[in-house]
Symmetry: C2
Subunit: 300 residues, 2 copies
């Protein structure tokens, strides 16, 4: 790990590394019961932007944490993210047939298997935190508490419930932001929080406050950009079944609330807020800065 | 806590206490998002035999552990059990309309809410372990690892996958026992393992081995008795929609494999095995002995 490494090289290296760590942590595809384990691997491996692990490693770089201490926390986060996609895609939820250009888990296998895959990945995520090496039990336990809070009914799952309840309603901006803070923001914040726990640094320390503020800005920017891409994104790049899918489904979003141009301006101002939070930091935070730009400027 | 307390009094007291602990640990029904939290409480509170908490407290009594150290572990186990019922009842799984004589969660609310309730309860379970008091972080982390293993793809979720795959097939006894060991046995073993962790006693200690052997015997006995009750149980007492439901669904079971009489004999021999595992123990294990009898002699 070197702060002189370009962000492109860092991103490529961490994406590949995360895939390898996940591959090693997940049970083999032929482990009993094989169909379940095969479906778990299908749902996690071979794709994804790995934004959350990138965020954890980039925050770890800024804090001078040895990368190996971040392997299990970053993998745990990605398992939570993967489980949430599998459950979100279910017929009773978003009813999506495609994800990253491939059949969703319930299409590739069946609905019952997809429910169980999500349950197993969620459970495995905590097993992965508990089996992390090089950290004090106290730090691991802090990670368990942080991840559970971010992923639970006051976090991601709560946001998903709000999202479903909002279908057919246009939310005002505070309610829309609250929904996204829970649905995606808490887990992105958690990516930073896990790096702080690995550094054994309090969240209310100066560095902790700056990084969490940064994480919250890019969390919201991520969602605004998602809504923009849903509206104008290239279908092949986003891997979604069709453009404007959220709009068709009458899901409230920043584009329908603000209009396209204002949504783009809002994303840019959130990016600036994230960069401002790092104003006191030197080159050790360059990957965090580049990641913030990537999130707002991505095409998929 | 006193070993002189009758099992009936112990059972009554622990059942009430568990309800109160769960009530306090679950978010209030009006906490935002309210519908989700209301459904979580509906799915956990107001019923259930609380066998797993009873097992944890009875094992704790045998080991001389202060009961307050068991509150969070026992509640975490019960949250896992409750989530598994909510997901098992879903249309894509067992498609059950009634549970304990009340509408199942997806019937009382809706399918998407039931999926999210299960996810939230599963996540909350680890938050509850992480927030336990009076234990060393090392002990709590051991509990996280143990519960995750018991509940995951090599445990409960794996058993559920095998159960679904077995519909329409009669399994031979080893495969049937393997399925039940994963589906229900691992979590019952876990109830004992959590008490061992609270006592800071190794699983391969003499006491640890005895208690785990006991737990495995009653885990299997529990399932054999479940199959017997499905066949002959009183519908009002079991709270199920209809007698022989598993048989109708062509779910393989001990009664269809062994016949009713042999299944009853098998349950009795498992009970004896559980009691034999406690042969070296004195009155401190009386609640464990009575619980084993309750499991095999219960009518619901």
């Amino acid at each position: 790990m070197s702060v002189a490494e370009s962000f492109a090289a860092f991103r490529e290296r961490i994406t590949t590394h995360t895939e390898r760590v996940l591959d090693q942590l997940l049970p083999p595809a032929d482990a009993f019961p094989a169909r379940l384990h095969d479906a778990m691997r299908y749902s996690v491996l071979g794709g994804g932007k790995r934004i959350r692990p990138l965020l954890t490693y980039a925050a770890g770089t800024a804090l001078g944490v040895h990368e190996s201490l971040l392997d299990h926390p970053a993998a745990a986060l990605e398992l939570i993210h993967a489980y949430s996609l599998v459950h979100d895609d279910l017929p009773a939820m978003d009813n999506d047939d495609l994800r990253r250009g491939r059949p969703t888990t319930h299409k590739a296998y069946d609905e019952a298997t997809a429910i169980l895959v999500g349950d197993a990945l969620l459970t495995e995520s905590f097993a992965v935190l508990a089996s992390a090496r090089g950290l004090a039990p106290r730090q691991q336990l802090r990670m368990v508490a942080t991840l559970a809070r971010a992923a639970g009914s006051h976090g991601m799952v709560g946001g998903q419930a709000l999202d479903l309840a909002a279908v057919g309603h246009q939310l005002l901006q505070p309610a829309l932001e609250q929904m996204h803070l829970l649905k995606t923001g808490m887990l992105l914040r958690c990516a930073v929080q896990l790096a702080l726990a690995a550094a054994d640094l309090a969240e209310d320390s100066r560095a902790g406050q700056a990084l969490i503020h940064y994480g919250d800005r890019i969390g919201l920017a991520f969602q605004v950009q998602d809504d923009i891409l849903d509206e104008i994104g290239d279908l092949q790049q986003t891997g979604k079944a069709r453009q404007g899918a959220d709009r068709e489904r009458q899901k409230p979003g920043f584009v329908s609330l603000l209009g396209l141009q204002q949504a783009q301006e809002y994303a840019a101002s959130l990016l600036q807020g994230a960069l401002d939070a790092l104003a006191d930091w030197g080159p050790e935070a360059n990957h965090l800065r580049a990641l913030a730009r990537l999130i707002v400027e991505r095409k998929q």
